[in-house]
Symmetry: C2
Subunit: 423 residues, 2 copies
C-alpha cells in the first residue's frame, strides 16, 4: 500500500501545476462590514468618495477672512484697516458675509465666510476697536483650502483588493464610509483522522496521543485571515469518513484533513473523496521531508487538502499549497517568498530523484554564520523541534545531495524570523 | 497660546525619556483562553508538560515487535523464524505479550507490546503461516520511540512571553493543553475632540468634517493586538471633557485623545488631565512634522496620549510612543525598527533647532533609486497622502537641513513595505 503511494510521488512544482489546472482560487464572496470591523479586511470594490474633501472652503490658519483685493499694498509700515463684521468658528455654517472693506475673525479649519477669498494670518494683524490693521497683503486663495482640493466627489480613493491598514481605515473615515464592502473570510473545515488521536483536554487513554495538527492548522488558517472550523476527530472508516467529509464540504469553502503525528492519510480518504465529486483526487504524494503522503483533491469546485501527519511537515505543506489558495480565496495577494542564505549543518539527500523540500531550523553559529539544520525525519523530536521550524530549503532533482557546509537558500515561514536573524 | 506650546516643544527622544521616567509599561493582567483562541496571544507563564510525549513506547515503523536478542545473527540468507502471537493496532492499549521466540505485528505509532524491545521493519520480514521470517538483526530500542523521549513530564516546552504562532499552538496541543494562560489584551479608550468632527455615517452638516483619527487609531490599536474602545466625539468644554476622560480612565488601561484634521488638542485637555491625578501632563509638544502639539500625561498609573490632529502625524506619534507602550502592556516585545535608505525628494528642515521626525512616502525612481517625499505639512493633501505614508526620517538637531538628493534613513511603519520596495 505504502509503496503504491510512493510511486505516485510528484514534486512540489508538479503538484502546484496539477492543482492550478484543476482549481483556480477565487474570492468566496463579499460582505458589508462597519468601519470598526474593517481593519485587515480586503476591499471587494474600489472606493469612490461621495463627498468633496474638505466638504467646504476652509481656513488653514488662525487669522482674518478678507477679500484679497482689500489687502493689496498692505505692509508692516503701511497697514490697511478693515472693519470687523463677525467671527467664524469651527464646526458651524456661518452667516457672516465679508463685503469690500470688511473682514471676519476665523480659526484653522473653520469655513471661509461668504464674500471672502483669502485669510490673513493673525501674526500680520492688529485688532483696533471694531477694526483690524492688516500688515501684509494676501493673494486670492492664500491660506484657504478649497472644497474638494484634497479629494473630489467621485474620485477613486482606494483600489479594489486593498488590504485595510490603519492608514486606509483613516482614508475611509475621511470620506464618511461607515460601511465597507469586503471579501468574505473563507471558511476552512479541519478534520482530524486517526484512531490514536484525542483532542487536548480530554483524558489520554492508553495508546492515545493528543491531536496536534488540527490545532496548529487552525492557527495557520487564522494566520491567513480565514475562519477555521475545527470539526473534530473522525475514525478511519469509510462510512463515518464520508459523512464527515460531506458535512465539511457543505459547511466550508475548503477542507483540510490531517492525521496524528505518526499516521499519514490512509487510503480511505482518497477513496471516499473520489466518490464525492469530480475530479476527485488529483495529487497523491508530494516530495517533502519530513513527510508522509499529501493528497490534494478537488470536489465540485472545492479543494480538499489531506496533509501529512508529521507536524512540521503538515505546516510545510500548508505553507506550500494551502496558504496561497486561502489567501487568493480571501481576495489577498500571496506575499513574495522571504529567503535567507545559510549553510547546511549536515549532508541533505533528496527523496528518490525528486525535487525535495526539507524543513529546517536556523541558528547563528559562534562565527555569526547562519546554519540550517533539518528537522528530524522520524517521530523522534518531532514536537520539540516543531516550534523551531523556521523555513525550508529545496534539494533539486539534479542534485545527488547537498553537501554539509554548502550554502543553501532557506525560505522562511515568517517575516519576523528574517529580522531576528539578520540584525 | 500657540507660541506658548511651541516653547515647550521637546524632541522625540526627550519625550520618550520623560515618559519612561513617569510610566513603566507592565502587562495589564492575565486570563485563561482555550487553545482555539490562543493563536497570536502571549504566554503569561512558562508552559510545563504534564505528560511524557510520546506517552508510551511507540513503534516508528510498520513491522514486527520482537525481543532484539531473538534476531541476533539474522540475515538475508539466514533468516530467523519467530512465532506470531498477535497484532498491535494504533490507538489502543495492547494485551499482547512478546516472549522469547515470538513476535507481534505492529504498525507505525502503535504501542510496543509487553516483552518486546525492538521492531523489525516489514521490508526485512516474510510471513509464513503462523510464523514470520526475520532477515535482519535489530538492536535494543531499534525503531522504538521511548515514552518521554520527545518531551519529558515536567519539562518546560515554551517560555513565558512567547507569542503563539501556529507552531507553538501545535506544541501546546501536543502536551494536551486545552487552556492557556495568556496576557490580557490592553483596553485602549479613544476619544475624539473638536466641534467640527462627525462620526462617519452620520449626516455631514455644513462646517463639519468626518472623524478620521478615531478610526485610524482604533485600527492601529488593533494592529498592536489591543482592544480599541471608541468612545465617540467629546466637545471641547471642560465639564464634558472631564466626564469623558474620567469614564475613559475607569474603563480602559490607556487613553488616546485626538482632534479633527485641522485642530490639535486644545489647552482644555491638559488642564483637565492635571486635575484628574498625578503626575498629570508630562510632555506638552513634540517635534514631529507634520504635527500639532502632542500631549502625554500619566494619571494615577495610566498613560494618556493626546495626539496631533493631522492624520499622518497622528499615526506617526502613535508609532513613536503609543505602539511601544501598548505592546509592552500586552506582554509583547517591541519589534526592532525596519529601515531603508532613500534620497530626499526636496530640502527638509527641522523644527526650531530640535531633532525632527518627518513623515515620508517612498517611491522608486525610474533609475530604481528610492525617493523619500515628505507628507504635506498643511491641510492640503493630508488625506490623499495618508494611505501613502510609509515611514519617517529624522533631521538631527545639529543639521540645519537635509539637502535635496541626500541619502536618509527611513524607518518604516510596516514590515511588508520593506519587501514591496526592495525586491
Amino acid at each position: 500500500m505504502r509503496r503504491a503511494l510512493f510511486r505516485r510521488l510528484v514534486s512540489v512544482d508538479e503538484a502546484k501545476n496539477i492543482l492550478a489546472k484543476n482549481y483556480v482560487p477565487e474570492p468566496v464572496g463579499t460582505e458589508v462590514v462597519s468601519l470598526s470591523e474593517a481593519y485587515n479586511r480586503v476591499l471587494a470594490d474600489a472606493v469612490v468618495s461621495p463627498h468633496n474633501i474638505p466638504p467646504f472652503d476652509r481656513s488653514t490658519v488662525d487669522g482674518y477672512a478678507v477679500k484679497a483685493a482689500d489687502t493689496f499694498g498692505a505692509e508692516e509700515a503701511h497697514p490697511v484697516t478693515l472693519r470687523l463684521v463677525g467671527k467664524v468658528i469651527v464646526g458651524e455654517a456661518t452667516k457672516v458675509m465679508v463685503q469690500r472693506g470688511t473682514l471676519a475673525e476665523i480659526v484653522t479649519g473653520a469655513p471661509i465666510p461668504g464674500g471672502a477669498d483669502a485669510v490673513v494670518m493673525v501674526e500680520y494683524t492688529e485688532p483696533r476697536d471694531r477694526s483690524v490693521l492688516i500688515r501684509e497683503a494676501v493673494s486670492i486663495d492664500e491660506n484657504v483650502m478649497r472644497a474638494g482640493s484634497d479629494i473630489r466627489r467621485g474620485e477613486t480613493v482606494l483600489k479594489k483588493g486593498t488590504v485595510l491598514s490603519p492608514h486606509e481605515v483613516g482614508v475611509l473615515a475621511a470620506i464618511g464610509s461607515a460601511k465597507v464592502k469586503v471579501y468574505k473570510r473563507p471558511r476552512v473545515a479541519i478534520l482530524s483522522t486517526g484512531a490514536e488521536v484525542v483532542d487536548p483536554g480530554k483524558p489520554l487513554a492508553p495508546g492515545k496521543i493528543f491531536d496536534i495538527n488540527a490545532h496548529a492548522l487552525s492557527a495557520a488558517v487564522a494566520d491567513c485571515a480565514c475562519e477555521p472550523l475545527n470539526m473534530g476527530v473522525v475514525q478511519d472508516e469509510a462510512k463515518q469518513m464520508k459523512a464527515a467529509l460531506c458535512r465539511a464540504l457543505r459547511t466550508a469553502d475548503v477542507v483540510i484533513t490531517s492525521g496524528g503525528v505518526s499516521i499519514g492519510p490512509t487510503d480511505i480518504i482518497p477513496k471516499v473523496l473520489n466518490t464525492l465529486g469530480k475530479p476527485g483526487v488529483i495529487v497523491h504524494g508530494v516530495a517533502v521531508r519530513p513527510g508522509k503522503p499529501t493528497t490534494i483533491a478537488v470536489v465540485d469546485q472545492k479543494p480538499v487538502f489531506s496533509l501529512p501527519g508529521h507536524p512540521a511537515s503538515s505546516l510545510l505543506v500548508f505553507h506550500l499549497f494551502v496558504r496561497s489558495t486561502l489567501l487568493h480565496m480571501g481576495g489577498r495577494e500571496e506575499a513574495e517568498p522571504i529567503t535567507l542564505k545559510a549553510t547546511a549543518s549536515e549532508r541533505l539527500f533528496p527523496s528518490r530523484g525528486r525535487r525535495t523540500y526539507v524543513t529546517v531550523t536556523l541558528k547563528k553559529s559562534r562565527a555569526g554564520r547562519l546554519v540550517a539544520s533539518p528537522v528530524p525525519v522520524g517521530l523522534s523530536g518531532a514536537i520539540t523541534t516543531l516550534a523551531r521550524a523556521d523555513g525550508f530549503t529545496v534539494i533539486h532533482e539534479s542534485q545527488q545531495f547537498i553537501e554539509k557546509g554548502a550554502v543553501v537558500d532557506v525560505e522562511l515561514f515568517k517575516l519576523s524570523t528574517y529580522y531576528s536573524l539578520t540584525r
